[in-house]
């Protein structure tokens, strides 16, 4: 980052929609099948075959459009994007060109760590298209064979194109995180980047600050091949520095060079120019005569709008306002997905202590999930069982430190907290017993009493330690309070 320029970032995100079947035929979209086993004459583009639109894919597109505040026009159509490639069996891709199914929306991004100011990122359009197949280039042993797997051809994609509204790699990452979260909450995609369900291209250039009346903009670069949000962040940061250096070197601005495509080399952490064509490609878009246009009524859009689930932004606000937990806490929980939110809400309501519930979910639950590499759905302790533990803490039957031991035991057993506490010999010590123990320990430690009287608070620690040896079940807080109270009269 530099004070000498502003980075202008726009993102194109391809999202694979979570349909069981392809966009224009009934072949399965399941990932990982043996090559070319999930194909039919339609997705293979065999002569005479015809596409028929998958309604479900269109519905998922509508859902996303509503969630991203996009307008859904009444009329949309399909266009052919013509180009040759071995993994494009028809010689064209069915996409949407001038009349996409949705346009002109936005999405809010913010950072609970306050590294950038919350902002609205514009979304130009989201349109549906079919995916191409996969070419696997085998250059081993000088054979240079290319094998083509067409299982992926025809898989429904939603291409979401943002305005160039982001100004830092961090904002770009936040946009992607929020977008992914919305898509996952909606259930329209699994957003698995490893399996290619979510693919990102970034358009980046710089506005260089100068005193003159005219803005200096560097040529736009489209970065491809980024397979994680971290890679996106790094690639943009790298590209900003590279473009600034290039501008200082050659002074070329946006008018001097066409848009360039560069690939991100994750190993080397650099962007590299990709093979460029002599002339800019002409896709010869025209309306696909094999597919009827799609008419969507205002009522249909309204119905989808009504059926939308609660979205992350709204949940964050509700957790913050309704449960009084910090924005940061709300963000952490919401980012874990709907299951985590439901878990948290139930825990907060059952225990009646939303902050304590938040701490446990954020710290202990998430730690266990990470250690054990589990999804939230797989977390072994039910809300009810965790409530028994938290209640025991609230009732001072157990201190927080020992509660963590009980929590660990609960992970691998079905027992409730009281049962495990009983096994471990943990029970609430009544007030008179604490009173007796405090007197006993104080009498045995005149030096400590003296220190306490003189305001040396830490002296109580040793006393708690001694008391715990005599009775491990005492609540340290209660014991400390009792000691302080007794010392006053000594």
């Amino acid at each position: 980052m530099s004070d000498d320029y502003e980075i202008i970032i726009g993102l194109e995100v391809h999202v694979q929609l979570a349909t069981k079947t392809k966009l224009f035929c009934r072949c399965s979209t399941k990932f990982g099948a043996a090559p070319n086993t999930q194909t039919c004459p339609v997705c293979l583009g065999m002569p005479g075959s015809l596409p028929v639109m998958n309604r479900e894919a269109f519905q998922l597109g509508l859902k996303t459009a509503c969630a991203l505040n996009l307008n859904v026009p009444r009329f949309t159509k399909w266009d052919r994007k013509n180009y040759y490639y071995p993994d494009l069996p028809k010689g064209y891709q069915i996409s949407q060109f001038d009349l996409p199914m949705s346009e002109d929306g936005y999405l809010f991004i913010s950072d609970p760590k306050q590294q950038f100011e919350a902002k609205k990122v514009g979304i130009i359009r989201a349109h549906l298209e079919e995916d191409a197949g996969k070419s696997m280039h085998d250059e081993a042993a000088g054979k240079a064979d290319t094998r083509v797997d067409l299982n992926r051809t025809g898989t429904p994609l939603l291409e979401i194109v943002s305005q160039p509204d982001m100004r830092s790699p961090l904002e770009a990452k936040a946009y992607l995180n929020e977008l992914k979260l919305i898509l996952t909450y909606l259930g329209v995609s699994d957003c698995n980047m490893q399996e290619g369900s979510l693919r990102v291209d970034a358009n980046v250039n710089l506005h260089i600050k100068n005193d003159g009346p005219k803005k200096i903009a560097t040529p736009i670069v489209e970065i491809k091949n980024m397979n994680s949000f971290r890679a996106v962040e790094r690639a943009i940061a790298y590209e900003a520095t590279r473009q600034y250096d290039a501008w200082k070197e050659d002074g070329k601005t946006i008018g001097d060079a066409p848009k360039q495509t560069r690939g991100w080399d994750d190993q080397a952490q650099v962007t590299r120019p990709q093979r460029e064509k002599e002339e800019s490609s002409d896709y010869r878009y025209f309306p696909d005569p094999d597919l009827a246009p799609v008419i969507t009524t205002a009522e249909e859009v309204e119905a989808v709008q009504q059926s939308l689930c609660e979205l992350p932004l709204a949940i964050r606000e509700r957790l913050h306002d309704g449960f009084g937990i910090p924005e940061y806490d709300a963000d952490v929980i919401v980012n874990q997905g709907r299951v985590a939110v439901d878990y948290y809400e139930a825990l907060a309501l059952k225990t009646g202590d939303p902050k304590m519930a938040s701490n446990w979910v954020q710290q202990d639950v998430l730690r266990v999930l990470k250690e054990r590499d589990l999804e939230f759905e797989q977390f072994p302790i039910s809300v009810e069982r965790l409530t028994t533990l938290l209640k025991a803490i609230m009732d001072k039957e157990i201190d927080t430190t020992r509660a963590k031991d009980v929590f660990t035991q609960m992970l691998d057993s079905d027992k409730d907290a009281p049962a495990i506490m009983k096994e471990m010999g943990i029970e609430k010590v009544d007030d008179s017993a604490i009173d007796d123990l405090a007197r006993e320990v104080l009498l045995a430690n005149p030096k400590a009493v003296e220190d306490l009287k003189n305001g040396v608070q830490k002296a109580v620690g040793a006393l708690i330690g001694q008391a715990k040896k005599k009775n491990p079940n005492i609540d340290p807080g209660t014991f400390r309070a009792k000691c302080m109270e007794l010392v006053k009269d000594m």
Partner: protein, 512 residues
């Protein structure tokens, strides 16, 4: 009457009464093909064994009293661009010379359900592009009336096998007149249904928004029955019309009362052969004698029909034919030769120090596409791919393709207006009778004018029929073209039947 002379309707009644068996009928057709097809060249493939097996199966079912389809036991020929599972389907192109589809088109399935006996695949212009069946890469078809003449096209084989009485029913396809013009040249009936009436699934596409499969036969009755068998909504074709299919064979005999016939003045102008004009005018008089009223109408945008068609059809074709990239099926060039040539070129350019040339050289992949397509496609197909690629390209889209779409709408509106005052529009099918083979092959524009009267029905999506209505002075058949509003095939068929009841032109067949 010999079995091969009988219409499908006659054959069905004979089959039902047990006078003949389907095996006998099929054998009669196969014999006729065997005897005469070496002169005509209507068939690319005759499926003797399969046809006989099907005929036998139908005979057995009939004997056992089992329910049978609408065309039970009747032989049908199919234009070789309908994918037929397990059978080579070539589109008369070298590109698909060895292509065996693993699926059948909807129309083939419907014919099978109707218990028709599919007897063979007929010749055509390559990828249905042409008006004379001279563009077939796999052989020439001749006109049975005079083998020095063309049968018309692109459904030339489909029309010729009917005229040669090799088969009573034949499937054609029509993108700009490809059913009606050969029907006219060969003296048979050909109907282009409303766009969407017959499923296009499995039809190897030429221009998707114009292509339509249709029935060809020797009588209006047969045409009605045949259309009934192949029509209907198909969920596998999203452009197929979701409407009920009328029982055309039940209404075909009902004459049309108070019929208003529209005649387009421009259809009888320059370029129309005198004999053709005479025959059509006579035919209209027949209708008048049957009580019809003739109304002069105008279709002002009809004159842009050919221009519009030759923008839209090649545009779609350029894209539809992109799938023939030789990567997954179809003709592929000899790769070793191709790679060797590429190396040679590279060496030459390197030796010459031609940096620009080297940079512009094909990759082996691009060269494979180029060479395979250059070898696999014939000249007319290439011409249209180039035309379409040009008219769709970024700088020209608005000037050509978009403009053509607008004119197409105006043409459609002309028809809407015209059909407010008339029931049918009647005129010549083609500007001339069958012409001599080779006479137009070097003049593509002259060939394109063959579609002068027929293309607008495709642009408007309306149904149209060609019915034999006379003979020229030299004894060649002339076709009368009738057009009706969308989904009014019923009207066309009834009008055709009225005419055939009053005349005997449809019974005139060439002697072989």
């Amino acid at each position: 009457m010999a079995l091969y002379e009988a219409s499908a309707t006659q054959l069905l009644s004979q089959l039902e009464s047990g006078e003949v068996t389907s095996v006998e009928v099929t054998k009669a057709c196969l014999d006729r093909i065997r005897q005469h097809d070496s002169q005509i060249g209507a068939f690319l493939k005759v499926m003797d064994d399969k046809a006989l097996a099907k005929a036998e199966q139908v005979d057995k079912k009939r004997k056992a009293g089992e329910p049978l389809g609408k065309l039970a036991g009747v032989p049908v020929a199919v234009k070789d661009l309908l994918c037929t599972e397990g059978e080579v389907t070539t589109c008369a192109s070298k590109m698909l010379e060895n292509f065996v589809p693993p699926y059948s088109s909807t129309v083939i399935k419907k014919l099978e359900e109707a218990d028709a006996v599919i007897i063979g695949k007929t010749n055509m212009d390559e990828f249905a592009m042409g008006g004379s069946t001279e563009n077939s890469a796999l052989g020439k078809t001749r006109n049975p009336w005079d083998t020095s003449l063309v049968p018309g096209g692109s459904s030339g084989g489909a029309a010729a096998c009917l005229a040669a009485q090799m088969v009573p029913l034949s499937i054609g396809t029509d993108t700009g007149g490809s059913i009606r013009q050969p029907a006219s040249f060969c003296g048979v009936v050909g109907l282009k249904p409303t766009y969407g009436r017959v499923s296009r699934f499995g039809l190897i596409a030429f221009a998707s928004s114009l292509d339509q499969i249709g029935p060809m036969a020797r009588t209006a009755e047969d045409t009605a029955l045949f259309l009934e068998a192949i029509s209907g909504h198909d969920p596998a074709d999203s452009t197929s019309a979701d409407v009920a299919c009328p029982l055309f064979s039940k209404t075909v005999d009902q004459p049309l009362e108070g019929l208003r016939i529209g005649m387009v003045k421009e259809h009888f102008g320059e370029g129309l052969d005198g004999d053709v004009e005479k025959a059509v005018r006579e035919a209209v008089k027949v209708y008048e004698s049957l009580g019809a009223k003739v109304v002069d109408i105008s279709l002002p945008h009809n004159k842009y029909g050919i221009a519009t068609y030759y923008i839209i059809a090649p545009s779609e074709a350029s894209s539809n034919l992109a799938r023939f990239d030789s990567a997954h099926y179809g003709h592929r060039c000899d790769e070793a030769t191709m790679l060797a040539e590429l190396e040679e070129e590279k060496a030459a350019l390197t030796a010459a120090g031609d940096e620009v040339g080297l940079k512009r050289m094909d990759t082996s992949l691009i060269r494979m596409y180029r060479k395979s397509r250059a070898e696999g496609f014939g000249p007319e197909v290439k011409r249209r791919i180039m035309l379409g690629t040009y008219t769709l390209s970024a700088g020209y889209y608005d000037a050509y393709y978009l403009k053509a779409l607008k004119v197409r709408r105006l043409i459609r509106e002309d028809y809407d207006k015209a059909f407010k005052s008339v029931d049918l529009i009647v005129g010549p099918t083609a500007p001339n009778p069958a012409f001599a083979a080779g006479s137009k092959t070097n003049d593509p524009l002259a060939m394109y004018l063959e579609d002068l009267y027929t293309v607008t029905a495709n642009l408007a999506g309306i149904p149209a029929i060609s019915v034999p209505c006379g003979l020229t002075g030299s004894g060649l058949p002339v076709g009368m073209h009738m057009q009706a509003p969308a989904l009014e095939e019923d009207r066309l068929l009834r009008a055709a039947q009225m005419f055939q009841k009053a005349t005997d032109w449809h019974t005139k067949m060439p002697s072989l």
